[in-house]
Symmetry: C2
Subunit: 354 residues, 2 copies
């Protein structure tokens, strides 16, 4: 099969690699119909993650089940499914608590499993618990829904996880730090929850501002540090925001998030942290909470799928690059340079419309 392989900083290529097969009776093999490139893949791409050269890459995919192990239940050959960005067994104490991200027998694509999302085939452990059918009969979704459904693998649940962890409720003012795909999904989630006002801190890219405003941002600020604090103070009558969602994970963005939260408020954090150290004394006096972490995406799927089906939720708007799997190097290049927000790659024919 063909798959994207990481070879070192700024080097990804599409290569022929061994096809996976069933290794455990709980496995299924999924033929990928659409895969996405995640902002967190860029940490690998840039050489900022501890990923060995030669590793596969990608953790957001949907496709069709083409083979099942003998113990797989609830899935038939041909079923269209989406995979969350981590597999989980559905049985351990964490899965039962709704925290599949801490599954005791779970794992990550391209780590505990060789295959990753950006390839033609993926072996999925604990397939019955991990994969979620896109419809009750497993039939193919309308092609125009594929981007929305693919966004459920990671970025949409992650954005919602940040918003929920920040404690956003109807009418609240919320600040969202980040204008990437997760930030955009946090905007969508905040709107879905009924936030009163959504203030977004982003970069100086008109396309991202336009996307943010279309998703529901009331204000978009392309400033940093003290300027950002001054701008948010002005927008909030000096009150800042009790609800801040950090969707980047860099030291600078987390620092900004902490500067924008009102005493008594909460920073919901979902940006994969790189070198973020928080001085607890900075939180203490103002009773600041921080809450969030790696999204248990699997647990959000039953809630989000019906909203996509009904058309209420359209997170596929975050995709701005559409290509085939063979376009992966170009997709990475464009995402790295922030020329595009998020890429959707199809091993078969590219999705050209939504």
């Amino acid at each position: 099969m063909r798959a994207v392989v990481f070879h070192g900083p700024y080097q990804v290529s599409v290569e022929t690699v061994p096809d996976p097969g069933i290794e455990d009776p709980g496995d299924a093999i999924v033929q990928v119909e659409a895969a996405a490139v995640c902002g967190s893949d860029l940490w690998t791409y840039r050489g900022q993650a501890a990923v060995a050269p030669g590793s596969r890459i990608g953790h957001e995919f949907l496709g069709r089940v083409i083979e099942t192990g003998s113990e797989v239940t609830g899935l038939d050959i041909g079923d269209w499914v989406v995979a969350p960005f981590r597999y989980s067994d559905g049985e351990c104490s964490f899965c039962r608590e709704g925290l599949s991200s801490s599954c005791l027998d779970g794992g990550f694509w391209s780590r505990e499993v060789v295959d990753a999302g950006q390839g033609e085939l993926v072996r999925v452990p604990h397939a019955s618990a991990t994969l979620v059918k896109l419809s009750s009969d497993g039939s193919a979704p309308p092609i125009e829904r594929i981007p929305d459904l693919l966004a459920l693998a990671d970025v949409m649940p992650t954005g919602l996880h940040g918003v929920r962890n920040a404690g956003v409720q109807t009418g609240d003012t919320v600040v969202i730090v980040g204008d990437g795909a997760v930030g955009q999904c946090a905007i969508i989630a905040a709107r879905m929850i009924g936030a009163g006002r959504i203030i977004v801190l982003g970069g100086a890219h008109p396309d991202r501002e336009e996307m943010a405003r279309a998703n529901g941002a009331d204000a978009f600020l392309s400033v940093r540090g003290d300027d950002a604090v001054a701008a948010v103070r002005e927008l909030t009558s000096d009150e800042l925001a009790k609800r801040v969602v950090e969707c980047v994970g860099s030291s600078g963005s987390f620092d900004t998030a902490l500067s924008l939260v009102r005493p008594g408020g909460t920073v919901g954090y979902v940006g994969l942290p790189h070198g973020v150290n928080v001085d607890l004394a900075r939180l203490f006096r103002g009773n600041i909470s921080i809450s969030g972490g790696m999204c248990p995406a699997r647990d959000y799927l039953p809630e989000l799928l019906p909203l996509v089906d009904s058309g209420e939720l359209r997170p596929g708007v975050v995709f701005s690059y559409f290509g085939t799997l063979e376009n992966a190097p170009e997709a990475y290049r464009q995402m790295d340079r922030r020329e595009t927000v998020k890429a959707l790659l199809r091993p078969g024919n590219p999705v050209t419309s939504r």
Copy 2:
């Protein structure tokens, strides 16, 4: 008047200093009947806080109103009152939200106000909002209730604040890190809320273990680091605890708290942090939240006072040294060496019984 003065590391003395007077029409002068030494005073005592030599010290006191400014309402001369460890105006947006600790016109004893709790007299700004009468008619409390009432100035609300911020609910297993007065009050608070099991991490002082067990601790562990993790794993069938309350504020104790919290859980933090830096990556994977901060003690008083009046709540058990104000140097020496848990000092006659 006589008051305790900090002169440098390990140097406190009791001296004659100027009497305070009304400076603002909202002020009241309180004649202190009982003052406490706080664990956080030890940071000053040991020279680990940025406190200028010559400063007064102490922030826990109760006493009688002996003078009021022209705009003070609701307080009469002679009323017995308790002061929370920070004064607040009761009017700003934070006070209205129940976060008096962030009052926009509030302040600390011995900082924004020269006087501090360990002295014969204190000028109290925003007296109407800050001071809470010990009974509806302002009459003197029974002498045996004085330790319980004095504990409401700081340690009891602070312990409860930690427990609430950790999210403790009926039946929960909770780990409390710290066996000082705040840790002991957190045990009392956890018991009050109906925690299922209370595990305390403390030192190797039999008197503190005895106090913790009397307050409701089900287990008391005098171990640190990996040994503490192993011991808590054993006590919790390997589950650790979703609710951890950090009552010390040192780097080591916060590290221990983070090691004991189960994925998806929360560390409630109320120990005044000194040099605590949290690597966000350590929280991310397990979805750990941290919540807490400086207790808005004033806001807890209406809830806690009736419980002391009825005898349901006896936080005065944390006092283990009783003396006059002149005994302050000895009280500090004993607390610093952990020979006593907490000291109660009376400018007049010492409280010798409870």
